[in-house]
Symmetry: C2
Subunit: 188 residues, 2 copies
DNA sequence: CCACTAACGCAACGATCAGTGCGATAATTT
DNA sequence: AAATTATCGCACTGATCGTTGCGTTAGTGG
């Protein structure tokens, strides 16, 4: 980790291999079953030698963690509509559309199954984004919301439907979710 | 499915094998990593020949589905405290304690990672239990709640914290969750 | 108690996976 | 441009997985 004796080299070739491997993981999870995601299979799909995967990632669990974090980080723009309700509604609707995609769900499922850190990798950046929205409302002079409880009431139902129920939530439903959540804050 | 040419035989030996295999799956998921859950490994732990697992379940995905459904079905008693709030609070607190157990979480994670049906297997009976609580309130003359939306607001945050955040929710937090949910119903 | 057969154990096989040593390639620094 | 070395490809090996055919055990109904 902090071993500076070996300097990292993120140049052209490594980046291309990384991108090809990530794409191969997403494609395999979209087509085949989850058990088919072995390192040799990913290597063959990516046009890379299996040894490379064994050395760079070591196991499918670490590979899935890497794929999940890079897939669910920086993919959504945090909106600035001028009001908290508008920001939350637009953002949560984007999250809903993202989470309604079957291929995206396959990545999330595989990441969750790879270990305790897999689920966190899917929502860490979502929490950061929600924190940014809430902080901006504070700068406007609005209420100081708790990020964790907001995540519970907004992301909770959304991800629950996506993972634990047959059909995921719609963007419209996400917007009504924001409305009812903000209503509970006004009437404690 | 409806093929009655082969009659099922759930007698003593089959039941013992099934129980031993289920216990072996739970133990392996509690100790080793998720990738270590192969059919030969489960067979060795259960004291059963691997061929039996290949024939009865075929793959780890179907085995995990079977384990999840039997683990999360009929394990909680639906309370009858006389009031909707009491029933929900007692029940959701039990769900919270169940979902806070690391071994239980490992089974859930593995089931989710095995495919789209894995997550449903973990919550199908929870929905039935919630439906029973709501139906009883109706019989008392109370409000007619929607089971799906109740699951969204009660089970959603609970399972979200369990799967997507480092530390799961506590039973006390589950009780406050019920209070705030019932408050939103009174002030629409 | 006897016949029937579902379910299990056993042995063997090909296929695939996981890992290692070594040389080649290319990114980075001087 | 040359030297350095992180990174990748290749060939090879042992271990493990997934599957099949066949005999044995033990539930189930007559």
């Amino acid at each position: 980790m902090a071993d500076s004796s070996t300097q990292v080299r993120p140049g052209g070739r490594s980046a291309k291999v990384r991108a090809a491997v990530h794409r191969a993981v997403a494609e395999l999870l979209a087509e085949e079953e989850a058990e088919a995601l072995t390192l040799p299979a990913v290597a063959a799909r990516a046009g890379v030698h299996p040894t490379t995967l064994y050395r760079r990632w070591g196991s499918t669990a670490q590979l899935l963690n890497d794929v999940a974090t890079s897939r669910f980080t920086g993919d959504l723009v945090v909106p600035d509509s001028g009001s908290l309700a508008g920001d939350l509604q637009r953002w949560l609707a984007d999250v809903a559309t993202d989470v309604a995609d079957p291929d995206t769900l396959a990545i999330m499922r595989a990441a969750i199954g790879s270990g305790p850190a897999g689920g966190c990798a899917c929502t860490e950046d979502r929490h950061r984004q929600l924190g940014a929205i809430i902080r901006r409302e504070q700068d406007r002079g609005g209420a100081a919301l708790d990020v964790e409880s907001a995540a519970d009431f907004l992301l909770g139902p959304l991800y629950y439907r996506a993972i634990f129920t047959p059909e995921p939530a719609s963007p419209d439903w996400a917007r009504t979710l924001v409305s009812t959540y903000l209503a509970t804050l006004r009437t404690p």
